[in-house]
């Protein structure tokens, strides 16, 4: 009754292919964005912003990046952390070398640099697939981690090996550095995510997205249709790494403030992969859902014992978290291998015919 499409006729192909063809969806997303931009900064406290919401945005960006590569183009990658590192270190070098450079521009340039690196490490995908490709991306992960550790130029010869984002402003408002408020950082991150997510959605529903999905589903047939595997796969690596690079830049500049190579290690790669699998491969919405889930679960697990009045050593808690995490992943894969995005779709289908059961 609420979610009916009756009376909504699409009179042009453009309307039919809109991102949110159903009017109720459009209103919902619009309201959500308004809420996110105008209400959240005022009601969310520092802890929530810093520990939950901003990381959610950072990881959403990374999850979108990985989803483009693994979900849409079918190229399994375990190197997400490394590409995020490229973005972060590139941003750091750019900002420290060009003090007048606008921060957002720095992010985007860092993303392009990450895209270049992704392009290079994507070359093996032309000859190898599946798990073998995963190993190649692992090579990228470990090698890049090592380079950022060993070559002091990357961290401006700082003795601790840590990179710290210097304070920068946009339109006079402090955006990075210790003075920047969580609200401001949140808004910047939100803007970036909203814009780039829209761009990603546009890309996947167009020619390039289709070429990726064709290569994913049946690459031999795709080649016979005329898709060039090399261009398609390398484009996937490049675009995906761009997103991961921006995510890494955001992680450094808007979330953590400073970082060492450990912040971008293999665990991050696995985390983002989980987000993408649990959220739903091949779905932009899924990237968000997965990121939300993986960001919230540890927070919940950390705070739950207090809620239930149980005292637990932090050690045991951490181990339990890992255990529950692993168990949840297996469980979700069994229940719905296509992730939360599919569950959402099913829910919407049911909603359309509510209150009838079918």
């Amino acid at each position: 009754m609420l979610y009916r499409e009756a009376g909504q006729f699409k009179t042009s192909y453009a309307a039919d292919q809109a991102i949110f063809p159903i009017v109720q969806d459009r209103w919902f997303v619009f309201a959500l964005l308004l809420f996110a931009f105008l209400v959240v900064p005022f009601i969310a406290d520092e802890y929530w912003l810093q520990a939950v919401i901003i990381p959610f945005l950072v990881f959403s960006m990374a999850a979108i990046g990985l989803n483009l590569l693994t979900g849409y183009a079918g190229q399994l990658s375990l190197g997400t952390g490394a590409f995020m590192a490229v973005g972060a270190y590139a941003t750091y070098k750019l900002i420290t070398a060009f003090p007048d450079l606008n921060v957002i521009v720095a992010f985007l340039i860092a993303g392009v640099i990450a895209a270049g690196v992704g392009f290079v490490f994507g070359v093996p995908s032309l000859r190898i697939k599946g798990f073998y490709l995963a190993v190649a991306t692992l090579a990228a992960q470990f090698f890049l981690s090592w380079i950022f550790n060993k070559v002091p130029w990357f961290y401006n010869y700082s003795p601790s090996g840590t990179i710290t984002m210097p304070p920068r402003t946009i339109f006079g408002v402090m955006v990075t550095g210790p003075e920047a408020t969580a609200e401001v950082r949140y808004l910047v991150a939100l803007t970036l995510v909203a814009v780039l997510a829209l761009a990603a959605k546009n890309i996947v529903r167009g020619r390039i997205g289709r070429s990726w999905m064709a290569i994913r589903d049946m690459d031999i047939a795709a080649e016979i249709i005329g898709f060039r595997p090399m261009h398609t796969k390398l484009a996937a690596f490049a675009v995906s790494s761009f997103y991961c690079g921006v995510a890494g830049a955001m992680m450094l500049a808007l979330w953590l403030g400073s970082a060492e190579t450990e912040a971008f290690d293999i665990n991050v790669s696995f985390q983002v992969l989980f987000m993408v699998i649990i959220g739903g491969l091949g779905s932009i919405l899924g990237s968000f859902l997965g990121a939300a889930f993986i960001t919230l679960v540890p927070v919940f697990l950390t705070n739950a014992p207090q809620l239930f009045g149980i005292a637990m050593a932090t050690d045991t808690q951490k181990h339990l978290e890992v255990m529950i995490f692993g168990g949840l992943i297996v469980y979700i894969l069994i229940v719905e291998p296509h992730g939360f995005a599919r569950l959402w779709q099913i829910a919407k289908e049911k909603l359309r015919i509510w209150p009838f059961p079918h």
């Binding site: 000859r127 599946g130 978290e321 890992v322 255990m323 692993g326 992943i329």
Partner: protein, 311 residues
Amino acid sequence: MELLNAVFIAPFVDMWEFPAFFVEVVITGLLTGVMYSLVALGFVLIFKASGVFNFAQGAMVLFAALTLVGLIEKGVPIWLALILTMVVMIALAFAVERLMLRPLVNQDHIILFMATIGLTFFLEGFGETLWGSNVKRLDIGIPNASFEIHGVLLHQFDLFAAATGAVLVAGLAIFFHKTPVGRALRAVADDHQAAMSVGISLKTIWIIVWSVAGIVAMVAGIMWGAKSGVQFSLSLIALKALPVLILGGFTSVPGAIVGGLIIGVGEKVAEIYWGPLVGGAIENWFAYMLALAFLLFRPQGLFGERIIERV
């Protein structure tokens, strides 16, 4: 010029001038390689029989080692602890088959792969919840005296590990080729449908295979644990086993061995002779880069089968 000399000449001169040291390095590498091979063996077993890429192999190594050490610390005599740990690993195989493999039986390989990653986390967390996460010493009475032959320093322990590895591999080879169960395993590895049509129960085979892999993991865990202590980083060895598999081919037992040895030696030699040039820690990525190079020129590994796709 200086650089070229350092990279292409000096290390080889070094090797030539101090052969005893070089042999030591190679032997150390070989022995590390044996241990990689043990872990890779578990992978190959499971992959051959069920097509599942068991990322949790490393976690199984850790879990087995943790259980063994935990039991020993509680005062259980070693021989009993060994048996109990084996029982635990077999029980684990049952659980994995029932709770994970069966529900996911027709899914994409990547889903199964992801599930094994989930299993990895679960086993790590579970093991550490049960037994704690401090580094533990594992002492099962393997002698560790060292002695010299022709100026080359050797450790008894390493030789023991190599011997164990050899025995295990020989045992597995006999198992695969001479027993009916082994034959059934090879049938399943070849063609699930055909195997089922001659009455081989997939479920039984999978339980057997995962149990054997679990026991192999236990042996690997004992070796690694006795050498460097039982700790979380054991499970990272699983990651190192991947390049081994690339070199050796995912479905080949001899491949896992040869691959392990090559990686072990390659890593060690690279670290000792070229590591100092770039500040060390080459071991972190050398194996992967080697695997990558292999992938580009021979995607199926040394012993694997060529992948042929039909339209």
